[in-house]
Symmetry: C6
Subunit: 77 residues, 6 copies
């Protein structure tokens, strides 16, 4: 079986950011496994600025981890 | 007696993520030890996007710790 | 007089987690020193999922500190 | 195609701060891709002090990452 | 003039925790310099579990900094 | 043109704390550039304990960064 998270290593900072977004969403799926419910919630919170900022906060926390795991992509410079 | 947390070491990032989820939930159990109450609360907050995002934030914080403990699983690469 | 926090060192990750819980609660006691008030608040927030998740977030932040202080209990492996 | 995030390296702390702001906003765009909706939400949350503080928190988290990536711009001193 | 924060160094973890509490409160004073207003707010939020947990979160964040500054008081062990 | 953030280096921990406060406020200004609106919001949130604690949290996050940038002012001891 393929892992959804085989590594924290990414080729670029942008891909690292995308991975941070993915890491944020997986926890939501684990708490609310029903895709139908999540689809129902999405349009509501996507119009709620508090929820948008809170979601951005989770991405920021994961991005810190992914960036550290990649040594901030320093070898790309 | 077996410890619920014998180590922060995991074989893969995905298992590290699962451990972060576990670490998040144990604190809830310690504050609300009554399983019946937790079972009653779960369906409510699982449909509350604010709660889902907040839960994801806790996972993100624990995942940072677990990832650091595993040196970001760098030796797997 | 004995200190309530003589060290951040713990024998195991599980004891480190318990210390993180303790560190979370002491701040509440310092802000609300009246045990009677805290006893009155506890049953209310223990049934409030937002509060339970927020409390878990505080534990996560302290656990990161305790884990780092113990070098993630790496020498136990 | 040009990446929106080619590097975390910036010439100065101020540019690093600007990058942190950018990192905060991209997550919002990914959750709410509709620019029209975002334009509608902006004036509301820009007058909501809770939202302003929460947005500042996200910037702070990203700034920590960017600052570490730049070794705190120590070589500029 | 004496500084309210001459150093982050403390003799013990417990004193480090007290410093973290102090660091949390100073920011409140800087935003609301009027002691009379703060005195009026205190009894209200001291009975609000959400506020108590949020205040504990701020202490946790500062404690992480103070603990790192003291190398986790490792030389005391 | 002078930068508002030429460096993260400060002479003392207290100056580092002041810088953290400044870093917190700049993000608010960038989201709400209208000084008149900010002046209108200030007295409201300065009497709202939740907002005061949230603002203190942002300062705590920035202070962690500034403290690390200054190697916790260890050479001052």
């Amino acid at each position: 079986m393929t892992s959804w998270l085989p590594t924290l290593k990414t080729a670029t900072p942008e891909e690292g950011y995308d991975l941070a977004v993915k890491l944020s969403r997986v926890a939501v799926k684990l708490t609310q496994p029903d895709a139908e419910v999540r689809d129902r919630l999405r349009p509501v919170y996507a119009e709620d600025s508090d929820a948008l900022i809170a979601a951005s906060q989770v991405v920021a926390t994961h991005f810190a981890t992914v960036a550290a795991a990649n040594d901030f992509w320093r070898d790309k410079l």
